[in-house]
Symmetry: C2
Subunit: 357 residues, 2 copies
């Protein structure tokens, strides 16, 4: 087992990565303060892992809330069903909420924990590769609004994160690929060597080889933890983590949440960011080709859905959280392995990218 | 003008108290970072003060959201109308939200600011005495859930607070009295001298004498700011501010939000806390009589509505945020001017108080 520490002063917390962590109650217990635990999960994950987790928690008052599966349910209505259940069962503010599931479960349970009685303790047990390398680290919690993704939320840190590589073996290949999009992202934005390692080890990653996955998750979490520690509330550097996400969010919003997986939209979005960086003259054609090659090798889409016009892109992008005082900032590549957040780009390069010329 | 500083490290902020502050734009401008401001107010306050405030903000993109008046609208639905308006008008995360109104407007606008795009800057301009001495100070924001008051919220600090005594002159007498309940609370919980000062100056306070109000607000905010600075997230001492509130919240919840004003419920709740402290043998009969006398002099109720049975009280109190691992903690008086938070009380004294024997 590997353990990383996310360094945020008195809100620091550990990330444990390895196999069979879900059946090791010694990892959880130091992080549960009160006598009550409520597990938030979904109807896909519950039959697979809820029983195992509950067995570890037999010394606590323990309930579970099973949500419908999918991004389409990450909204205020679902959030309200969690509040109602907690209040009906009279769970107090020392209750620990555990998120057992993918990014949607983590985001919504995390935001429920942030806002229930103005904040209760919270533990993340991510069960998808996407959640293990991305959404479970860094304290971003949120739900969607019909007018935009993740528009309602909080920065709220968990007590700890358990990333069990064993549970990834039951993931559908499409979900695994979506997680690999974020792994590739870390290579693209800050570590060319790691990008090449991912390319060379793509088959082992897709086959769910335990050791290869552990290395990939560890390096990804490490990079994310460093960036988050330097910039918890997204003043500057943290926005680098949104490489491919401004284009990707536009795709997700236009298609309706859940139609394209988040990682798939990010895959296409990263290709667009690389294409635009090429159009700006910042990276070479061979860099763009390599980025596309790795993304394609992970079985991810390398272009947006054909129904997306430049207008639909621009409409959604105007609502992006990185828009400040009306000016759009994008995460682009100055080199393969070196991303920047900038509003200083050639508007023609953006239009060429959106028009897919 | 008096200025207090709430000391919370890098989240410290000033409270300005005095008359005619609303028409002094120099107080606001240093606290607005971006180019956009959205004022959240209600249909009662808007005709009186929205115009004056907007005049001060002519250099900014400035919109206003006018809510229906009353605690009954402090819920997730109203919150969602704020999110929708902000998103429709594409307000970004540098937008400053200004709460212009009483405690309900401050709580809901504050929570909207805490949660919109995971947090945007926020300024409080409280227009009721209650909000000036209580809810605008300390960073508690929340909305109600049908199963409990303030059950969904965040600790979120404003950039600054403007308490303009001039605006209190348009308050209905019942609202002014409700504010005096919290002023009396500070005397009861921590400053016997101040309690006697309030008793002696009750007529001037009810007549809205500017200088007397300024003194009362300043001392109240000072006591609250000290308690909040020592315990921002309500681990211990901060719960003292809930003197009378556990009984009071039960009254508000049972009667339906808005039927009894918050301060009226707190008035009756403080008498109950004093009666229970007397039943525990902690304060003398003459202390109880003095507490009742001051509360009655402010034209506040000194007993709960007759329909409240011990059972209805206990049911609502079991959901109180001060319940920890199933045990009820109450704020009681060890002496007049000295409150404690305790779960160590005579159950018979509680029942006698609830049964109104």
């Amino acid at each position: 087992m590997k353990t990383l520490e996310v360094d945020l002063g008195h809100r620091s917390y550990p990330i444990h990565i390895g196999s069979q962590l879900l059946s090791n109650s010694d990892l959880l217990k130091p992080h549960i303060q009160g006598k009550s635990v409520v597990i938030v999960t979904n109807e896909t994950v519950a039959p697979l892992y809820l029983g195992t987790l509950k067995t570890q928690l037999s010394n606590y008052r323990c309930d579970s809330i099973v949500l419908k599966d999918g991004e389409a349910h990450k909204n205020l209505e679902t959030l309200n069903t969690i509040y109602t259940r907690l209040l009906e069962q009279r769970y107090d503010r020392k209750t620990t909420l555990i998120a057992l599931g993918g990014g949607v479960v983590g985001d919504i349970a995390g935001y429920a924990a942030a806002s229930y009685q103005r904040g209760i303790p919270f533990i993340q047990i991510p069960t998808t590769l996407l959640a293990q390398v991305d959404s479970s680290v860094g304290g971003k919690t949120a739900v969607n609004h019909p007018l935009g993704k993740n528009m309602i939320g909080a920065f709220y840190q968990p007590q700890c994160v358990l990333a069990d590589t064993e549970v990834l073996k039951t993931l559908p290949p499409r979900e695994l690929a979506a997680g690999l999009a974020e792994v590739i992202k870390y290579g693209l934005l800050g570590d060319r060597e790691f990008l090449l390692w991912v390319k060379d080890n793509m088959d082992a990653l897709k086959d769910c080889d335990n050791a290869t996955l552990t290395t990939a998750i560890e390096r990804s979490c490490q990079m994310k933890a460093e960036i988050v520690a330097a910039d918890e509330r997204e003043g500057g550097q943290r926005a680098l983590l949104n490489l491919g996400h401004t284009f990707g969010h536009a795709i997700e919003t236009e298609m309706g949440y859940g139609e394209w997986l988040h990682g798939e939209a990010v895959g296409a979005g990263m290709v667009m960011a690389a294409e635009m960086s090429r159009a700006c003259g910042w990276i070479k054609q061979e860099d763009l080709d390599l980025a596309k090659e790795v993304i394609a090798a992970a079985d991810l889409p390398t272009q947006p859905p054909s129904k997306m016009t430049p207008d639909t892109f621009l409409q959604h992008m105007a609502r992006d959280k990185k828009v400040i005082d009306g000016s759009l900032r994008l995460v682009l590549l100055k080199a393969l392995g070196h991303a920047v957040v900038t509003a200083d780009f050639d508007q023609a390069a953006l239009m060429a990218t959106l028009e897919r010329e």
